[in-house]
């Protein structure tokens, strides 16, 4: 058994909150530069230039790339050979509290969804836990902005809707959202499982590197076709019209009931922020 100190977790989460908000990952930046080359709309080109310039300013000045520094989503992979004798959720929330204070990040969480009083420290995080084999603790942290999260959707399709039904649902969802999720977006799609599982699959899909492709042949075909068709919708950067509406489409699948076809579409803005650390 390997013991992981509480302070190690708190400090890692604090650092991940700040770095995710300040420093865009290279895979996203490269995808933005690629879409700038492909964009044919003059106004879309201007928008992409400003987005890329913004990401460089954020990196160089160590400031948040976007003012919506999000609600924190954490994926924990806890090795079965590690020992923790403290409340790990409490440790993560302490890291979030420190990160949002010390990083001058916006506190965007309300305590109750209906009376809407701000918690003042951006806690609590949304934490998903998985037990895996091994003696390490992996923390993947994603500050999720509301602009794109609000354009997401879960729908229980029927098996007869099939492959084409999934495509239609995704294309309709993206077209209706237009400029609101801050395109060029990354589209995370979860197919299968149950009502809640497909939503989680979609979120996990957004954590994949931007250039990887699904190992599942049907999911891979869907990723390729949907990317091409989304970019024919005409929405373009920020919805000002253009050919670059999505940077990538990621599809994660899971077995499901004979009578079900759950589908979740989770949209991610161009400020696609997530960072990972292995303790």
């Amino acid at each position: 058994m390997r013991y992981i100190e509480r302070d190690l977790v708190v400090e890692a989460v604090e650092r991940l909150c700040i770095e995710a908000n300040y420093y865009i990952e290279d895979d996203v930046l490269n995808a933005l530069k690629r879409s700038r080359k492909l964009e044919t709309s003059p106004i879309g080109q201007k928008v992409l230039d400003q987005i890329i310039e913004n990401d460089f300013i954020a990196r160089n000045d160590s400031v948040p790339m976007c003012q919506d520094t999000g609600m924190v989503v954490v994926f924990l992979e806890i090795g079965n050979l590690i020992h923790i004798d403290y409340d790990i959720y409490d440790a993560i929330n302490e890291g979030v509290r420190n990160g949002y204070l010390h990083g001058y990040l916006r506190k965007s969480v309300v305590k109750h969804p209906l009376d809407r009083v701000n918690t003042g420290d951006n806690t609590p995080a949304v934490i998903h836990t998985k037990i895996v084999m091994g003696n390490s603790l992996t923390i993947t942290l994603a500050p999720k902005g509301a602009g794109s999260e609000n354009m997401s959707l879960v729908k229980m399709l029927t098996p007869a809707d099939g492959y084409e039904g999934v495509k239609k649902l995704v294309l309709d969802t993206i077209f209706d959202a237009k400029g609101k999720p801050c395109p060029p977006i990354i589209v995370g799609i979860g197919i299968g499982g149950t009502f809640e599982k497909c939503a989680l699959l979609a979120k996990e899909a957004l954590m994949r590197p931007i250039d990887d492709v699904s190992e599942d042949p049907i999911a891979r075909k869907l990723e390729e076709e949907l990317l091409e068709e989304i970019n024919k919708l005409g929405i373009g950067p920020l919805g000002f019209g253009g050919t670059q509406t999505a940077l990538a489409v990621k599809v994660n699948v899971y077995p499901c009931h004979i009578a079900s076809l759950p589908v979740a579409v989770n949209t991610q803005c161009h400020a696609a922020r997530h960072k990972k650390i292995v303790l």
Binding site: K46, Q50, Q67, G236
Partner: protein, 185 residues
Amino acid sequence: MKITTPLTDEVIENLRSGDQVYITGKIYTARDAAHKRLVELLKNNQPLPFDIKGQIIYYVGPTPAKPGQVIGSAGPTTSSRMDPYTPVLLEAGLKGMIGKGERRDYVKEAIVKHKAIYFAAIGGAGALIARTIRSVKTIAYEDLGAETIRELEVVDFPAFVVNDIYGNDLMLDNISKYRMEDKNE
């Protein structure tokens, strides 16, 4: 095109959807909760915390300023959440709004009727936009935190005209221009 605030009818008449503008002068921040309060004041015939005539409201909730900064990152938020409040503010003399995303039809109609302009700034470009903000003054509702109404002094704030007084709509017009119709069927 460079424009200054407050907006005059002459400037507004010259703006067309798709124009890239650089705004200089004072603009006012307000988003969801602040809009609710402003509209309640107008309903009760009470004065607003700032003179709204000819002014621009920017839909933004910035991050806290780091030491040495006047403001933190300050990109636009989604405008459509402010739609229900907007016609009343236009009626009261508001002339411009900066946000992101499209507006509902009744807002577009009110924009034409009251000779106003809807601009979009680049969503997610909070660090770039912050550089154009030179000073910040708190005007009202400090209890709202990031939603406080602030007066910003901006120089060459970058934005695009979306809805003009002639009924043009950058998003609607341009999306159909780039849409390739063979989509899902």
